[in-house]
Symmetry: C2
Subunit: 423 residues, 2 copies
Amino acid sequence: MTYSQMSAEERKAEYARLQKEFDDLKAKGLNLNMARGKPSKQQLDLANGIFDLMRDPADYVTDGIDVRTYGELTGIPSAKRLFAEVLGCRPEQVFVGGNSSLQLMYDTISKAYTHGLLHSPRPWCKEETVKWLCPVPGYDRHFKVTETFGFELVSIPMTDEGPDMDAVEEAVKDPAVKGIWCVPKFSNPEGIIFSDRVIHRMAALKPAAPDFLIMWDNAYCIHEFEGDFIPFPDMLALCAENGNPDMVFEFFSTSKITLPGAGIACFACSEANIAYMKKLIDIQTIGFDKVNQQRQVLFLQNKAHMLEMMRQRATIMGPKFRCVVETLDREVAPTGIADWRRPKGGYFVSLNAMPGTAKRTLALCKEAGVTMTSAGATFPYGKDPQDSNIRIAPSLPPVEELEQAIAVLCVCLKLAALEKLGL
Amino acid sequence: MTYSQMSAEERKAEYARLQKEFDDLKAKGLNLNMARGKPSKQQLDLANGIFDLMRDPADYVTDGIDVRTYGELTGIPSAKRLFAEVLGCRPEQVFVGGNSSLQLMYDTISKAYTHGLLHSPRPWCKEETVKWLCPVPGYDRHFKVTETFGFELVSIPMTDEGPDMDAVEEAVKDPAVKGIWCVPKFSNPEGIIFSDRVIHRMAALKPAAPDFLIMWDNAYCIHEFEGDFIPFPDMLALCAENGNPDMVFEFFSTSKITLPGAGIACFACSEANIAYMKKLIDIQTIGFDKVNQQRQVLFLQNKAHMLEMMRQRATIMGPKFRCVVETLDREVAPTGIADWRRPKGGYFVSLNAMPGTAKRTLALCKEAGVTMTSAGATFPYGKDPQDSNIRIAPSLPPVEELEQAIAVLCVCLKLAALEKLGL
């Protein structure tokens, strides 16, 4: 029987029972964290071989370049080749940076703001208004980048196959709309893979703004934790085929393949965009850390080897996601108060609690020692109009801890729903 | 006899003799580079021990932090302590970043432009005009950062003890003047150490702009190649003592101590500034490469050990600088056509050729296969009003090659001067 089918009496009894369960959980004095998509210690240890590399002086040189010294602003050729193979584009379209794809994304937007992009009539700081499309639920750090530059964030609903393209096509008729955030494979937080139809409509957009920018954050493009690797189209080629060669910047990093915060990141875009950005970035730095680029290339070798590594990581991640989804299926599904997605890759499980209960649920979790991503974080300005979406990040805790954390979450979801339904 | 004392006949004969010498040098087909302050291969090899570190899993953890994962935006505590010891400030005043101090400098200016600094009435992109003080001759990459944001660059003459402080004090009365570039120890390119008097006047400035910013690029603060280490005052404390705690950002990196482009960089500033910048940088990145921070700390250990390392590097750099200065003393001094400084640290020798001959000199050098920093590079907009200053960067070539390159430079200086004096 679902909660809404229950009589007031039955709900009262259920609430009393759950409150006791909650008190027992609270008494355990838990201190668990499912707030961010951090890899676990066990997963970090899989990359420790990276510390044994670069011991042979022959490794300091790649394609005739001494990686220890200044130069090669756009990255070492072997790293470009590796990323091009993974993303399905050409090495000339790849710019290899430092340890953070977020930094490359921020800097791309920042340079659009201070200098403009290749086809900008003027720097965006000189525009009256800049609007930005944010598929929701989405990634809080993306939204914050565009928020910090004062853009007006416009929510676009996500569907089962990606952003609602009717809404996107309508929105880009406004010349103030300058771009959109996308996580096309295993989207954050829903784990949705954009369908071919969505991707093609996205590549074929005819925005009013001549400098409209698709921020294509392909963070999880080889991050399956269940099932086989799913090939994914090259967005750069698709945009070019549709007469939009300069409309997309794709981003990727090895942070969740080697070491978080000590991997390497890249962006990929048209060669015209590479040339334009190179001129701007040349003022900002003499070059990124090529020693670490070389270290990553030696460790990762090629796409086939990287996919093999990801299968190893899947043996750690898979059980965690199964634990989350199976517990929710068992504990929460019968109550009819929430639904959730069943991702096969990425780093999150997206859950929609009964509208109006997400904040209360997470406050209760906190009270019981379980920290989750804040309610609302998956929406622009941190405000979920339904107060419903909850992002679960199960990667960090070991399975035993995860079980406890999810048990807490289930109880809190139910308590909040019963309070909402009225006791 | 100097060239200006020569008769026209004597100059003609000298020119003919030099032209033959020039042709002989040209015939050698040289391909030498003294354009940038790049460390030599020999110097890079001194740091190869850095590749043997981080092999013990115990090294992954520092002050309880696993350096392999996300977090610690402002850097690991041990790196803050190390930089604080070197700069003479407190660890809480240090923000440790990635591999590039230039990037930290650019980002500081960029954030002033997009968001404003702690005491800014508005972001600098909303200001009618932003003016910036550039001591000349100075560092081209500094000037380009402020040029790229459209600031109006104002030249300030350098004296033997640093920037002309009368000119600086006068200039900062203009509220549009928002900051100044400084390389206070072994300035680029002159190798001047700012005197205590200059430093104190700088720290005590009372600029009209409430958000005036001293960019204190202490790149060479332990980079003596001759004589003992020269202690240098803590600019942060001096500014604070003078009621300007938030007026200065100091920059430093290990690029020329460990590996160029694979070291770590930091900025140091008041704790109020750290808190302000942290909030802004938190949008840009989850964190810098802490594995490399840890690697550098393990390698460098402490200030005493770093000074010892710099003495080793001095045994490579010292002979190169002596070669430059001694050759100029021997070959050019008698002609009276140029003068140059005798730095004891840093990466450059600054030479003032006969006014109106720097461009011609460097064009001749290029013809003979010797690439130098472009004429004018040490001035805002790349324009030396005197066409006189030449920056010599002797760090990269081995001494044998350097001798050849300087021989070419000497001949070219003379040819250009004779042409200017009239034949």
